[in-house]
């Protein structure tokens, strides 16, 4: 009796492992081993030709002594996050709020709003290169003659605008789902109390969907810190490094430069990971903090 129960338990455990094994093996290789090896590589010098050479903190010191990182990639990335995350969050929230007003044609609007998010990052980048070309549609419509993507003062803003535009569809759907979860009786109660639409938005809607806002901001921060595709396709980090971001720099050091610097690139990847984790935790505190003070 006892033995059969034990056997049954063992066979359950074996089955359990068999079920997770295809996932577990691949996940272990590409996430766990990869992460451990990235940390190891960050303490080495590695150019693909010779085996990695241990050099301690040298890779990190070189990262923090690199002008392209300190003067371009790092400030550019922070600028990108600080501009894109608030704007895409606010824009998609406003769109979702407008969508949630029980207006007609809601489904058609919702479908069409999602179009830019269906388009792949490469395709939308290729289209924007052409729209913002010197003789492109944008200059034709606005009668300007700016070389948007070849000008260090404008190129980055075109990329930012494009990404705010393309992410809004997805984020709007996330907000809309959150808004539709709010019970109509809460809105009715606020109307009876005499709240106007703007008060309703700030005192009812925003506090009710705070968890969704936290999620959208978190996803936004993690995504924006790793922006790559659009920069690779549209400007390759130029003009004059004005669009070089940290992730693009990691790619450049590890795969594109004439002398490959995989160790140093790994050190930068580890630094970026810590920056992202720190800022995610910080913004969680800020959003939760502002929540508790509004409720009291």
């Amino acid at each position: 009796m006892n033995l059969s129960i034990k056997n049954k338990k063992t066979s359950e455990a074996v089955t359990g492992y068999l079920f997770i094994s295809p996932w577990l093996i691949i996940f272990t290789i590409f996430s766990i081993v990869s992460l451990a090896y990235a940390i190891y590589l960050s303490f080495t010098s590695y150019n693909l030709l010779k085996p990695p050479q241990w050099w301690g903190l040298e890779g990190y010191l070189r990262v923090f002594d690199d002008d392209l990182f300190l003067k371009k990639a790092l400030p550019n990335t922070f600028k990108y996050v600080l501009i894109v995350v608030p704007l895409q969050t606010a824009l998609s929230l406003v769109l979702a709020f407008a969508m949630d007003q029980k207006l007609r044609f809601q489904r058609i609007f919702r479908t069409l709003f999602y179009l830019p998010s269906v388009t792949s990052s490469v395709v939308i980048s290729l289209i924007f290169i052409w729209i913002f070309a010197p003789q492109g549609i944008f200059n034709q419509i606005t009668r300007l003659s700016v070389n948007w993507l070849d000008n260090p003062r404008t190129a980055f803003y075109v990329i930012m605008g494009m990404n705010i535009f393309t992410t809004s569809g997805t984020l709007m759907l996330i907000f809309l789902a959150g808004l539709q979860d709010i019970s109509p009786s809460i809105y009715e109660a606020s109307q009876i109390d005499g709240a106007n639409p703007i008060q309703t938005f700030f005192y009812i809607t925003i506090p009710m969907i705070r968890p969704v806002i936290f999620f959208v901001v978190t996803v936004g921060i993690i995504g924006c810190f790793q922006v790559f595709d659009q920069i690779f396709v549209m400007t390759a980090g130029g003009p004059l490094d004005s669009t070089t971001t940290v992730t693009y720099l990691i790619y450049k050091w590890a795969f594109r430069d004439t002398t490959i610097k995989m160790g140093q690139a790994s050190a930068l990847a580890v630094v970026l990971t810590f920056i992202i984790l720190a800022i995610t935790i910080l913004q969680r505190r800020v959003i939760e903090g502002s929540g508790s003070s509004a409720e009291s």
Binding site: T15, G16, F19, I20, P22, W23, L24, I25, F27, I29, F30, S31, V33, L35, Y37, A38, L41, P51, L95, A98, Q101, T111, L112, F113, L115, S120, S121, V122, L126, I127, W130, A133, I137, Q140, S168, G169, T170, L173, I174, F175, A177, G178, D181, I192, G194, V212, F214, T218, F225, Q226, F228, D229, F232, T247, I250, Y251, A254, A265, V270, T273
Partner: protein, 308 residues
Amino acid sequence: MSSISSASSSRVIEWPVVVGRVRRVIFYAILIFWTLLSIAPLYFTLVFSLKPVVDAYTPPIWWPVPFTFANYQTILETFDLFPRWVVNSINISVIVTLLRVLFCAMAGYSFARIEFPFKKIIFNVLLVSMMMPGVVTLIPSFLIIGPGLIRGGISLGQLTLPTGFNLIDSPWGVILPGVADAFGVFMMTQFYKSFPKELEEAAMMDGSGRWGTFFRIVLPISQTQLLTLGLLTFQGAWNNFMWPLLVLRSPEFFTLPIGLQWFRGEYYTLYSVVLAGSLFNTLPMLIIFFVFQRYFIRSIASTGSKEG
């Protein structure tokens, strides 16, 4: 406050009518403006893909005059790489989707239903790994797919254990890292945890083993959830850029996004061909979106509600 409420018996009735109408107009204006903006890039792409290649920057911009199918002819007849890229993209995206959905469903079911040692620890590692930005594993993943973490492998006497798959420039190099991730398993685990057990238990009583129950009962009844994860996966694989860019080297193995970017570099004067080609990437996704809209919206909404 009291002065407002005393005067408010008329206001309560008033604002839904007057303010309500103004408000409606404002909201419609916002929605229509953003709709036009959302359609614009796709519309202009379509218009100029139907204009001669020399007119890539020539007005009129609102309709295709002069009209021609020449760019599509170029894609289908002159550059036979385009159809190849479409086929490569379909193959890779379909295989990634099928394998990822299967592996995630199996693992999610196991985490939700079966007791096995170290389950908690493994699941916690999974949760923590969801916080890791993808870029940190980029370089080691490339080494694992390619030349190996340790060049020449680990030698064990006679045997040499390779540390890399040697899959650079192979579609399998693109597929392999995409089929097992933390988020998909997390999503399926949460789903099966909230799913009633009765049907499975009845099947197990009738003598079906775990495997029979899983493939005959569990997978069919969770098809909505599988479709949701599948659509999310397909879109990701279909549009993926950074990873295939690192793995694929020869034009005949390119996926469509890599091919389009490469073609733009090689033939930058043929921008109308790039635009026509880009529609081969956008339109299939658009059709899938229209057909499965409900599930798409569900899948996106569900990514948000996991925190909420």
